[in-house]
């Protein structure tokens, strides 16, 4: 996926330090418009009003998990059109059934925590 600095990226995680880390890495990759949210519900509200080029989300969160947020995104109707946005889960959930469930829900990439900046970059570039 070619990075356009003006594209909007959404980073979703209930851990403020993870949001800072992921946002920092994404910023270094070239993205300058980075929105953040602390839950799937907050993220969904933002996705109804902003067209994102990339969503990076945690899985295990209160007030709507990352996978529930993903399922909602994939069925989003109307503008802005986020339903086919590249969506990467960045999560500590590391069982095969997690990956399979995420794939079935339409995830574009799956990164297990703790992760490296290099892995995140390669995953985004491969989208």
């Amino acid at each position: 996926m070619k990075i356009n600095p003006l594209d909007f990226v959404l980073v979703v995680d209930d851990s403020s330090s993870m949001v800072r880390i992921i946002s920092g890495i994404v910023n270094k990759l070239g993205y300058k418009n980075i929105d953040t949210a602390a839950s799937g519900a907050d993220a969904l509200k933002k996705a109804r009003h902003t067209s994102y080029k990339l969503i990076l989300s945690d899985w295990n969160m209160e007030n709507m998990s990352g996978i529930e947020f993903l399922k909602h995104i994939r069925t989003l109707q109307g503008a802005p059109t986020n339903h086919d946005v590249p969506f990467v889960l960045i999560t500590a959930e590391a069982k095969p059934e997690n990956v399979i469930a995420a794939k079935q829900s339409g995830v574009s990439g799956y990164i297990v925590k703790p992760f490296s900046a290099d892995k995140l970059q390669k995953t985004i570039e491969a989208l």
């Binding site: 330090s17 069982k95 992760f115």
Partner: protein, 170 residues
């Protein structure tokens, strides 16, 4: 204690034994009850020496651990990002190496999220109510509980990023 006989300065051994007999009997009964209670607690799955209430001291310690780690990690991130911004003003041969080291520092910080989740799990098992709902122990038969959300696994139970990549590509 009955008064001393008027014509004696002390009790005979037999008299002392007779006076102590009820106390000794009560003491024997107490010991028996204690043993029976300890056995009852163990039969119920507890420990005779464990407190009946949640380990409040242990929870307080864990909360302090979480709080201090959170503060320390956020301080480290703030300072690493500050150094990164300062470096933007300079140009020297080793600059990229320093930037790469700052990235390694940020990567190291992301283990904090795993640590926090594991601490939530421990606190949940100890009965702490002051943790996010999704980390509280799930009640068996709870239809709303999601078995896919269990937080970080033990290394032996987790698959690697390489295995995840293969699953994603299959």
């Amino acid at each position: 204690m009955p008064p001393l006989p008027p014509d004696q300065n002390s009790y005979s051994t037999a008299e002392v034994t007779a006076l102590l007999a009820p106390l000794l009997e009560e003491n024997r009964k107490l010991k028996l009850y204690s043993r029976q209670l300890a056995q009852h607690i163990e039969d119920a799955g507890g420990s005779a020496s464990s407190p009946a209430d949640p380990p409040a001291d242990a929870l307080a310690e864990l909360r302090e651990v979480s709080r201090h780690i959170d503060k320390a990690i956020n301080d480290i991130i703030t300072r690493a990002q500050k150094i990164d911004r300062m470096l933007a003003s300079y140009l020297f041969p080793e600059k990229q190496k320093l930037i790469d080291e700052l990235t390694r520092i940020m990567e190291a910080c992301n283990v904090h999220d795993i640590t926090t989740q594991r601490l939530y799990k421990v606190r949940g098992l100890l009965g702490d109510k002051d943790i996010p709902e999704n980390y509280k122990p799930r009640v068996t038969g709870n239809a709303t509980a999601c078995p896919l959300e269990s937080g970080p696994q033990m290394p032996a139970d987790a698959i690697t990023q390489a295995e995840i990549d293969r699953l994603m590509q299959s």
